[in-house]
Amino acid sequence: MSDHEQHDSHSAAYWRVFWALCGFTVISVVADLVALPSKFMLGAIVLAVATAKALCVMMYFMHLKFERAWKYLLLAPTMIIAAALPVALRPDIGAHYYVQDVKQLGADYQEHLERTAAHSAGHH
């Protein structure tokens, strides 16, 4: 490592980031405890906080802020491929744009089971 001899300590920055991370965690927990008007808002807040925490860790603790442009070369393809999977799965699994001919799990499934059970009991 080139900076063995002339090491600039980032300890003050680490300390600030540590407190920022603790503060973000408290915000997440408070957002859960406070009765927010919608689940969507809660999800948006906690995921935004998580993203901010992740950026803090990556930029400072993982030193990406101090690294040169190679970080984009290495991480950009990874991020694109990583995002591709959920995006590719979403139309078929995550969204229902079609009418289900055969009903899947739900209240109707429970009714179906009860009807089947009642039917089989009727045979006895």
Partner: protein
């Protein structure tokens, strides 16, 4: 003639050490690995008609999850401090902070262990969760059957089949009943054998009622006649009665101790989907934590030999540990809060 000054050696490629490049390439694959799980979870949750979010039902403990988040953040901070100390030639301090990180890693796993124990105790496991009342009743019967197998096998270890064990049980009770002047030990045995037989008859009755979908108030003795009826109409068995029966057995002074391990069952719609996702993500994360701890131990074993040359090693282990922290930063809101 003057000699030309040799040109400085060109350094090709990315301006970081090979070890660090290797670690970042590995972390790149790790990002894809965990994004696959997290992405699948999000997609499944969006696609599912429902999801169990009540923490009393899922036994998710937000306080423990939050504590673990804090533990990992502190440990991540300690790793960077340790690396910083190494670069400043404060080796003893670097070693100490590495030790703190290791301890916090164990604290994380212990808290995770407490959470997992709760899940195992309440059988919140993939494939184990009944999703409707019929499955819940089937689960009670299945649990009861396994309990009877254990009790009968303990009483009659020489017989392997349940039928033989039951025959042996009946024979033993009969012979003890017929014997006059029983010793206190035989009296005790007769009592325990009778209780076992009583528990078994409770099991058979519950099983037959659930399998035949007939209310518990319908006597078992009438079943043969009912099966012959063409248009029989009886109340179906229901989960509340089955669970009440289980509670009665557990509260019974004589049968209760024998029935320990049995419990009422409550359906959780989409519970298996939840449990699969929960254990897949937290399980793989826990495996990563364990691997990280091994790496910390490797560094700590250097003891007084830890020096500035180990800075790259510590930095790489630190990068891995921060990644583990990063994954948890997303798992906590996704699994515990939303």
């Amino acid at each position: 003639m003057t000699h030309a000054v040799a040109a400085p050696t060109l350094k090709m490629g990315i301006p970081i050490s090979n070890a660090k490049l290797g670690m970042w390439l590995f972390l790149g694959t790790e990002i894809m690995f965990f994004t696959a799980f997290i992405g699948t979870y999000i997609v499944m949750r969006m696609g599912s008609l429902g999801w169990p979010t009540d923490t009393h039902v899922t036994h998710i403990n937000i306080f423990l999850g939050g504590t673990n988040t804090f533990v990992l953040i502190v440990s991540s901070y300690f790793v960077v401090v340790s690396h910083d100390c190494l670069l400043s030639h404060q080796y003893a301090k670097a070693w100490k902070f590495m030790l703190f990180t290791l301890i916090l890693g164990f604290v994380f796993l212990s808290i995770k262990g407490v959470e997992y124990t709760g899940k195992f105790q309440h059988d919140i496991l993939p494939g184990h969760i009944p999703e409707n009342n019929l499955q819940a009743m089937d689960k009670v019967v299945h649990q009861f059957g396994k309990l009877m197998d254990r009790r009968l096998a303990a009483a009659f270890p020489k017989q392997s089949k349940r039928e033989d064990q039951k025959t042996e049980l009946d024979n033993r009770i009969k012979s003890l009943n017929e014997k006059s002047g029983r010793s206190p030990a035989e009296e005790q045995e007769l009592k325990s054998m009778s209780n076992l037989a009583k528990l078994n008859s409770e099991y058979v009755s519950l099983k037959e009622h659930v399998r035949s979908n007939l209310a518990l108030k319908v006597p078992l003795a009438n079943f043969d006649a009912i099966r012959k009826e063409e248009h029989a109409s009886y109340d179906p068995v229901n989960l509340d009665d089955v669970n009440k029966k289980v509670e009665e057995i557990l509260a019974d002074k004589e049968l209760g101790p024998l029935a320990s391990g049995l419990g009422p069952a409550h359906p959780i719609l989409y519970g298996n989907l939840f449990a699969s996702n929960y254990f897949l993500m937290t399980g793989f994360h826990a495996i990563h934590v364990i691997i990280g701890l091994f790496m910390f131990i490797l560094v700590l074993m250097k003891g007084g030999r830890l020096c500035v040359d180990d800075a790259i090693l510590v930095e790489n282990i630190g990068l891995y540990w921060h990644f583990v922290d990063l994954v948890w930063i997303f798992l906590f809101p996704l699994l515990y809060i939303i």
